[in-house]
Amino acid sequence: MKKSLSVSVLLAPCLAFATSVVADNNLADRHARKGLKCAQCHVEKVPSEAPKMDRCLKCHGGSYEELGKASAEKQPNPHYTHVGDKECAVCHKGHTAPEFFCNDCHRFKVQAP
């Protein structure tokens, strides 16, 4: 009994993670639904760190400048700001809800995907 309890405790985070990938609508879940494997974004051995900008740009926009052009209609343009080109994962969280960095100081009505 004690042993099986330990196993289930150890497995719990894995199950929770697996569930979140298929059931939630976070950025990672949406990527997973499109058939992407974890390792396509998480290039390091342990998938613990948020992917860096250059990884995201391979599929999205190609360059930060292009992202800025693509979102130029938004007010303000989240990809062309006075703070410079922030890492994507600052706003676009993989496994939790997105956080719009600009609203640390402002209160813009911009929803990051």
Partner: protein
Amino acid sequence: MGRISRRDMMKGCLMAAAAGALGPVSTAAHAVVPAPSTKIYDAIILGAGTAGLVAAIEACDRGIKPVVLEKMDLPAGNSIYAEGGINACGTRAQRQNGVTETRDALFADMMKVSAGQADPALTRAYVEQIGEDVDWLQDTIGVKFHKVRELPYPLLSRVHFIDGGSITGGGMLIRLLLAACRKRSIPILYHTKAVELITDRKMAVTGVRALTEEGLVDFQARGGVVIATGGFSANREMLCEYMGGVMSRLPLRGSPYVTGENITLARPLFAKLVHMDQFHCGPIVPETHVNPVDALNSGYGIIVDLRGKRIIDEVETYVAKARALPNLTPENRAYQLVDSNWPAVKKMADKFAGMNSPFFVADTVEGMARKAGLPVEAVAAAVTGYNDALRTNSLKDLNPPCTRKHPHAMDKGPFYAFPWASGMTATFGGPKIDANAQVVTLEDRPIKGLYAAGNAAGGLLFRDYVGGSQLGGATVFGRIAARQIAKACKEA
């Protein structure tokens, strides 16, 4: 791997002892020795703001090898928050517009607005260099300026506003300076925070110890180190220590990362710290960071506190109003009330609306006060009192007086209430520099190898300044510091 012999150990200890005796000496007693690695450059520049990036570019263009150490993930100092004005005389832009702003007149006015407390040698260096520096920003960095226009004293035709497009002028300046650094392959090391200066046995600065993501690294400087880390506007402890009182608790108008490394790095070398109680403040809406300065400068309306009473002579500058507010009201909150006689009122309302920042508008004064949650009778009495006094030519007899030369009645609806608070912009205090941008000791002796520029340096700014002197000072003394380091490298 073989075992370490007793002889090897002895040899290692002797070598370490020799290094301790002859090598660089850290300024901190608790320094970790040895550092994990050492990197050598000609100029080590601390902080990727206007002063630091300008210094790096100038150093590179003078043929020496700079590195910029930035503690944050991007340039995160005050520059990116700046509107982007540069106070200058003798620029090509002025000549092309038929404007004559002389060095002597600018010198006199910079001294005047500082109540005579600005360092004359630094002010002289500023007015001598800034014309060429603004041209350099245009030609070498690619900065585009709006056309110079005539503004009230002491701005006159001196302020060159950077065209920021959809972002701040300061944000654009940093983008262009970064591009110029990329073009020159100048290394900018992010997440690299200078923690102490390294000196030799004569206390000349020979390098910087920095905390990187991999641990401590010693950077060795052949020519010198430039402190361009800004002031201490976001360091509450320092604000409390050097200013105290309500002014040390203002909301920030700029960067939360300007935390006084100019002081902590320079103080162990007995640098002369000057103008430590001096700072710039202005209006801000703390919750949304809308800057309502144009409403305060409009020449229209009145300013009331949360009790609905006028609190200050509306003729004052926005800086004076912001400086006074925390001392006049316990909440550090006020409303700029304006009517539709102000031609730009809609523009201000659009600015607030565009940033989802609450403001209050109604066809009557009472309706506006009600929406704003202000005491209706008090606000109505304040507006009526102002209008009555204007009619009877007795505005100066109000309490507080209103001494505007060209006052306007508040009688055209709709009426607007724009909330604001006083916010901290930047501090002026820091290690005193000489006209070579070299930090001096308490005995006014230049510290070999140590330079400071921008808001990290003390001496140029005191009390108030001609708008655009912060970015101007960063550019002038950033370039001077780089030239001096290049000179030192060539003489070595």
